[in-house]
């Protein structure tokens, strides 16, 4: 589909090889998202660095206040699922949520294509989650007991249970990444088609839908990651 791309324009401007605009579009937009998050979080960190001065929050809507609200909401969601170990997992989960949310939200900027539209970005995030919850499971249970869980309680059913468990574990990152990619790609295509039909007022409705979908999908991705971590940590009651 022929469309204006900010990334291709940016690549032209900086004198990089022009084929990069097509091939590495999602990498470049992911870099832009990363730089954006970095700048915003540095600004917030400069304000929140001295916790003593921040005991009484300002009574205006500032960047730091918004950041506090977001982190508190994420922490509450984590504590519902994970209990006392929630704070340990907050950096990964909150980072994933903010990265995926802002990545998906770039889809409503005209000329940008969201990095989450490519399977590569999503599979990278999902594989990180996959490795992370396995490492957490092995840390809490020890490597022998963690893999013994997969064989189930009955000895003669063990081969079947092992196969089922392994498939269900391997499908997890694949389904996480394909779900996110399909949702964002589908939404972006719908937005593109309606911009072709009626470029003035109609796309606003679909932009609102895009914001909603971006939020829900980032939430679902992180929520499922939290559930996988919780499942890897729990499992004592089986034995």
């Amino acid at each position: 589909m022929d469309r204006f791309s900010l990334i291709a324009w940016f690549v032209d401007l900086t004198g990089l090889p022009p084929s990069w605009g097509d091939q590495y579009e999602h990498v470049i937009s992911a870099l832009i998202v990363l730089i954006f998050i970095l700048i915003i979080s540095l600004l917030i960190w400069r304000k929140l660095r001295h916790t003593e001065d921040r005991l009484v929050p300002e009574n205006r809507t500032t960047l730091a206040n918004i950041a506090e609200v977001i982190v508190e909401a994420l922490l509450r969601m984590l504590e519902d699922a994970l209990g006392p170990t929630a704070r340990r997992h907050l950096p990964l989960i909150a980072g994933l949520f903010l990265y995926l949310l802002i990545s998906s939200l770039t889809g409503i900027v005209p000329g940008m294509s969201p990095p989450t539209e490519s399977i590569n970005t999503n599979l990278a995030c999902a594989v990180v989650v996959f490795l992370y919850y396995n490492v957490i499971g092995i840390q809490t249970h020890g490597i022998r007991r963690y893999f013994k869980h997969m064989t189930g309680p009955v000895v003669w059913l063990a081969p079947l249970m092992l196969a089922i468990e392994l498939i269900s574990h391997i499908v997890r990152p694949v389904s996480l990444s394909i779900r996110l990619m399909g949702n964002i790609l589908g939404d972006h295509v719908v937005l593109q088609i309606f911009e072709g039909i009626a470029p003035v007022i109609v796309p606003i409705v679909f932009m609102m839908l895009a914001i909603f979908v971006a939020f829900i999908q980032a939430f679902v991705f992180t929520l499922l990651s939290v559930i996988y971590i919780a499942l890897a940590q729990a499992g004592d009651e089986v034995e």
Partner: protein, 111 residues
């Protein structure tokens, strides 16, 4: 028990490359054009695939939403606690529809 653990680790390591292979074929198949005169079937197939998937997904999501609404109506204080499991259920149902959407995109890419 040690043998079971060794077996499990072995299978794990052996199955892991499939992730990479799956992704390779995912990008490769969209470039092949081998259907010739029957390309119209791809268009119909893509349309039917996403249509049927949307039908099934809509029925499933409707049931989830109806049950959640009923639960909230009976006990409005439980609204916040119902919301998160409902979103998980909706996402899991929706992911099946999204698989069909991905398949439809793959078929469309081959036309």
């Amino acid at each position: 028990m040690k043998r079971i653990a060794a077996l499990a680790t072995g299978t794990y390591v052996a199955l892991f490359p499939f992730l990479v292979v799956a992704q390779e074929t995912f990008t490769e198949t969209t470039k092949v054009m081998k259907f010739g005169a029957y390309r119209w079937a791809l268009a119909i197939g893509a349309g039917i695939a996403i249509g049927l998937a949307a039908l099934g997904g809509a029925i499933g999501q409707g049931k989830v939403a109806a049950a959640a609404m009923e639960g909230i109506a009976r006990n409005p204080e439980a609204g916040k606690r119902v919301l998160t499991p409902m979103i998980i259920a909706l996402a899991l149902i929706e992911s099946l529809v999204i698989y069909a959407l991905v398949i439809a995109f793959l078929l469309q890419g081959q036309i």
